[in-house]
Symmetry: C2
Subunit: 270 residues, 2 copies
Amino acid sequence: MAVAGPKIIKSLERGLRVLQALQMQPDSSLQQLYVFTGISKPSLLRILHTLARSGVVTRRLADGSYRIGATLSRAPSRRQRRDRIAEAAAPVLERLCRRVSWPSDLMVPAGDHMEIRETTRARSPILLQEERVGLQVNWLLTGVGRAYLAYCPAKERQEIIEMLRTSNKAEDRLAREPARLNTILAEVRARGYATRDPTHVGGWYGKPPHADGLISIAVPLRDGARVLGSINIVWLRTAFSVEVFAARHLEELQDAAAEIVSSVRGRRAR
Amino acid sequence: MAVAGPKIIKSLERGLRVLQALQMQPDSSLQQLYVFTGISKPSLLRILHTLARSGVVTRRLADGSYRIGATLSRAPSRRQRRDRIAEAAAPVLERLCRRVSWPSDLMVPAGDHMEIRETTRARSPILLQEERVGLQVNWLLTGVGRAYLAYCPAKERQEIIEMLRTSNKAEDRLAREPARLNTILAEVRARGYATRDPTHVGGWYGKPPHADGLISIAVPLRDGARVLGSINIVWLRTAFSVEVFAARHLEELQDAAAEIVSSVRGRRAR
DNA sequence: TGCTGCATTTCACATTGTGGAATGGAGAAT
DNA sequence: ATTCTCCATTCCACAATGTGAAATGCAGCA
């Protein structure tokens, strides 16, 4: 015979249930949460809005999926470090996207590729091309990859290049031409931003490469000596030259990078 | 002009506010939370019951104050390691108290004393004596202190004894008689439990020592080679001899210790 | 073009949470 | 002992609040 017991606030309990669901399965869509928790979608929406307004959950810009905010996330596993960066980046990139009108991406290193962790392509007025979080891009030919390589510690750079050299893939041939690569990276450092290789016509792994007509400028997320990843702004190459675009928006992009880094640091400090 | 905005669940928002209040000020009484959050006490009570039922907050047995559960607690600061032990111990000690009918305490090392982190004295049918969390007790003369010393790594034991020897207080004179102390600790290990020194008549620091008529048996919380603290059961020495009481309840006490340790480990593992 | 799956909004209903006031209990002060 | 005070907990009448079915929107797909 359970005691009548003190009153329980059901709506709060459901909120916590959603939170727990998000802990078990980070990055859930509304549908996933609906299946998992059995709570009706309208209610879920209200709950998630409430949690988001309190900063307990965050939405991913790329596809609108939900994740637990850094405020409550548990033991920062290796896996979640990247998510913290993505979370810190989201509001900054969104603002950047609104002001520049062109979309941007956040990329972080992942094995022998760079990987998209966040993107505002869905938010941009101009729909450029399919993009998904988790998609991998080349390290040596893309702007984001080069921005990372140009500024990361020398030792880390050597390890990456060594790894790519031994992979022996055609698209990584630059890893076997240290002189040319060094010239390229030196240029990146001199200009303060990186762009994709002129011969790299876009198209991601698993898709037939085709001229996508896109170009971007990319800058690293520098945290002291380390580099956490890189962010870029993408536009249609027919609209502006790289020089014109950089003159107009490079400073904003660099400011955004600085803001993301300081935001991540702030959270880590806690 | 803020958008009309999606609906917000106010009761959930208040629940999160309480959670945040507890993060800023761990170990809050209802009154403190009432002042801090401005939420009415009946509502606070309902919210806290809900949070507790979901395992997000825990109550301290000693005085009923609330704290954030290990599930959500952030970066485990040194300070919170002890609280985790207390949290893990609470349900175990409560059960022990119900079955044995005598109260027990959880003590952990704190500088040159052992310190009470949790107690069921308030829960025991027999009200023995004032007890508060944070009260400090002697290391060499109490059962809990000796249980700790007897089982902790030799190096740690030497450091503690050295520290007490240099303190040069009268009640720490045993630190200056290594032979006698070693004999005592060897006996503890042989029996599997410790009791207070026969000359130690109770009374805590800051209070005039007086014969309190109490006695206890204490066992360590052994986590591998380390000792996290110790727990005891206290009774009126007129009621049973130490031998009778140990024969009846030692096993339960040791089981409780093992359960607390494995519970702490389980949480840490996550 | 119509179909399917998912996110979001609307709305009528009653479940659910709310706080003032009452109660209980434990110390401290007289 | 007796009162006073402070705090935790319970009660209860009231209406504010959360609820889900159904409608709408929207994008990809056959």
